[in-house]
Assembly symmetry: C2
Homo-oligomer: 343 residues x 2
């Protein structure tokens, strides 16, 4: 029988003690961790990088098909991805959560298992947080802190004409994964007896539920003494994030459709839904891959890494932000990312 412990039986301070009692700090820079008014971090000689993301039940995740452990893992990863996108190394996080009485202590433990698994994998310390009740829904707000040597951080506003446009990994899978899970949820709600049919879709579903941040790409840059001229993580879709780089940098761009990396599993899954895999890559979002620009002179170093694809190049701003399709025609790229607000 599954145990259910009400959070209210512990109280706020009891819950905090319970969740933080096994924390072991991994970074020498984490001087004071959980258990005081604030954490103290020592980044002498390095610059501190900070980012935050808020995840709200019903907006960013659906607990009907998201295991809490995966949710905890993903909540950390999406923040670390932003730190890597600055060419920095994440070192600490602080976590604020709001939990309704629908959620048991066992459920919160599962969520934290995911949090700590991600922290261990990426070498990050949990150094603080805030725990509150919520009237409705589960709310997660994480702030990640990282470090970078002076003048080694990479902004999105410094791409230059002539630079190569590159992307890590492959795109579009998380969006297809979401379509599968939404379809199965609908079937389940209509006919609760039917078992989910997710046969063969583990790749795309895994990309949605348990994304990874591209620590390896940042390490590759460091090992090969490379520095992108600009970088962003792809959370809203290739179109939207490419437009961010072009707008912020004041450049245009040519993107080749045929160069966009899309996994075979993603293509096959997209065909089942009768949608264009390229559209998923451009507009899907939640891929957490890195999109960056690099001087042409660095091309020889790039080919050492099979996880990096060159997908285009940057132009004068008046050339616009464009895609050359497989058929050879040229189109302007427009933002069609995850725009929660506009839908």
């Amino acid at each position: 029988m599954e145990q259910r412990t009400e959070i209210s039986s512990l109280g706020e301070f009891g819950l905090i003690d319970h969740l933080t009692k096994n924390i072991e700090l991994q970074n020498a820079s984490s001087l004071v961790g959980v258990g005081d008014d604030a954490a103290v971090i020592d980044h002498f000689g390095k610059q501190t990088v900070v980012t935050c993301d808020i995840l709200i039940e019903g907006v960013h995740f659906d607990l009907t098909y998201t295991p809490l452990k995966h949710l905890g893992y993903k909540s950390v990863v999406v923040n670390l991805s932003d730190i890597y996108a600055m060419n920095a190394v994440p070192t600490q996080i602080v976590i604020a959560i709001g939990i309704s009485n629908r959620i048991s202590l066992e459920a919160i433990d599962e969520f934290y298992e995911g949090i700590y698994a991600a922290c261990e994998k990426y070498g990050v310390d949990v150094v603080g947080g805030d725990t509150s009740s919520s009237q409705k829904g589960f709310i997660i707000s994480i702030t990640a802190i990282g470090e970078v040597a002076p003048d080694k951080y990479v902004k999105r506003s410094t791409a230059r004409k002539g630079d190569l446009l590159c992307v890590s990994g492959d795109l579009g899978a998380a969006y297809i994964g979401l379509l599968f899970l939404e379809r199965e949820k609908k079937i389940f709600l209509e006919s609760p007896g039917v078992q989910p049919d997710l046969e063969g879709e583990s790749y795309v579903i895994g990309r949605l539920l348990k994304p990874e941040a591209r620590k390896d790409i940042i390490e590759f840059f460091a090992q090969n003494d490379m520095m992108p001229t600009s970088m962003i993580d792809i959370s809203d879709g290739l179109s939207s994030d490419l437009l961010h780089i072009c707008k912020a940098s004041g450049v245009g761009c040519v993107l080749y459709e045929e160069k966009i990396p899309i996994a075979e599993a993603t293509r096959l899954a997209a065909f089942k839904f009768e949608i264009d895999p390229t559209a998923c890559a451009l507009s899907g979002g939640e891929d957490y891959e890195l999109l960056f620009t690099i001087p042409q002179s660095e091309h020889d170093k790039l080919v050492l890494n099979q996880q990096i694809s060159v997908v285009g190049y940057m132009t004068e701003p008046d050339q616009g932000v464009t895609i050359i399709t497989k058929g050879g025609s040229k189109h302007a790229i427009t933002a069609q990312g995850w725009n929660h607000m506009k839908q």
Copy 2:
């Protein structure tokens, strides 16, 4: 006629642009602010201090009587208070919000007016954030970052036997302010025609709706070359926060009821509700005053500051955490702070 602009007419990126377009960074340490994956902060030679708080509508605030500008101001202040409680100086914040479609752009602007007013007053930069929709209620998560010289930060775990126990300002007012506003809300809901009767209660209501963080006390310490042995901000009530210090430091304490600073306006207001002003100070919470311990040898410096009251002294742990009442009897102090979860 009041204007109402739907947030959806701007979209997420439009809203972010709108909210951040007038930011001017005040701190040299704020190298990269809003508009990238993460902010970059330079605290060379200083240690970085980080804290976060989440505020959820219906749990932490009630929009029926909380002006949004005050809410923005208070959201910043409660975080800065935690930074000051480490004997550090706040320098940056990142803000994540979740907003339902009930909230107009004009309302968000008011909220941000309060955010920026607090940032200006305390010399803090907004360097990042995340903006999301929420299915229900307004959600605010702020992370504050500060700096402190090495070995100048003050934890809550380092109070020593014989130290004087001190508190800044006065206590209990915010709780009485809350009682007034809750009473008027109830009357309003029962008889919507009745005007609120808050005559003469501006002090206690102001303490609830627009608290200030004790920057002045931290500056006083620096100017007088003083350092508390331990410190915490009083957010949960004097009892609860004193117990935190005693438990973390492994000491006991004697607190004198007659020494607890309570404003005359708070006493009068408490009598109207027929409650004991001391109980408000002990259990009320949301005062955002500083509770700290200091060696007896520093007593002469303390008296220079009329904003500081000596309220007791620290003892061996086996003496317990106790209060000596005005009548001279001795009682153990128990936690009765704002324990949202346990109520």
